[in-house]
Point group: C2
Chain length 189, copies 2
Amino acid sequence: MEILKQRILKDGQAIGIGILKVDSFLNHQLDVELLNEIGKEFHKRFSDVEITKILTIEASGIGIACMTALYFNVPVVFAKKAEPSTMVDGAYQAKVHSFTKNKDYNISVSKKYLTQSDKVLIIDDFLAKGGALQGLEDIVRQSGAQLVGAGIVIEKAFQEGGKSLRDKGVRIESLAVIQSIMDNEIKFY
Amino acid sequence: MEILKQRILKDGQAIGIGILKVDSFLNHQLDVELLNEIGKEFHKRFSDVEITKILTIEASGIGIACMTALYFNVPVVFAKKAEPSTMVDGAYQAKVHSFTKNKDYNISVSKKYLTQSDKVLIIDDFLAKGGALQGLEDIVRQSGAQLVGAGIVIEKAFQEGGKSLRDKGVRIESLAVIQSIMDNEIKFY
């Protein structure tokens, strides 16, 4: 997605080896016009499949998921983060390892909002080592719903998350795929 | 806002005295068509003022803020929650007391994304005792930006948050104002 790549080059901060900050438009401040274009693009890429629900994870996935859901005309469900000790009644749960913060946390989704008849599109801002996406995939599997695919805004292809999930058969559409971040320079595929 | 009130009566869960759960359409699962109507309504109510930025707080404010921002054509900034011990460089911070969880947490917004020249509309899902809204108001004040007002989806008027913020001069527009929740029955103003 060309306007996204240009925006990453213009406003993203490449830091050292492998780190990219995009909090001026995607993670903390949100450019909703860009999010709207992102939603439109996900709709185009997944126009060949039926989708009944969009699943994301708090917090930075929510805006993107909402814009995408407008095009599909389906509800969003966002997984909530909680400490691993917190048990939640009536919820699907999965453990996620955050490599950024080097700790585990649980995510949960109420059983009321994902059912066997759902066809689920997962939406998230980043795919790097794949911790969050694997947790969401786990939750969809527990619910018995069909995982139609995952729409990712920025994939760091030099980390293993994308490969390991594609190897499991998950269809992933990433709008900007980064080959490397080195010496503060970003290279896309 | 009539369709919102009808939806609260239809799908909200009034629990005992004073508790309302709306996680089937506003807090966990998100009805984005309704959120879109909510955004349109906030735009109508604040059409008389200039707004350059929408400020909200993770996580459940984000979807509503994004839909509203589409109508105003301005960016969203969401305050991040962190433990009170976490110090964040280059950020405005405020302490918020959560009455639901009975603990304090800090919220923070990067100084890069709120400036003296901003005219800020705060958007949030609930206003009850006013903890979150007071924290956001505090952050706007620290930044030197102008607080234009606050758009709230559901205000529990039987709690003191709305009064204390209006007494401070904050313009608040609430789309559904609840007079009481008793014996599992919701009464609106």
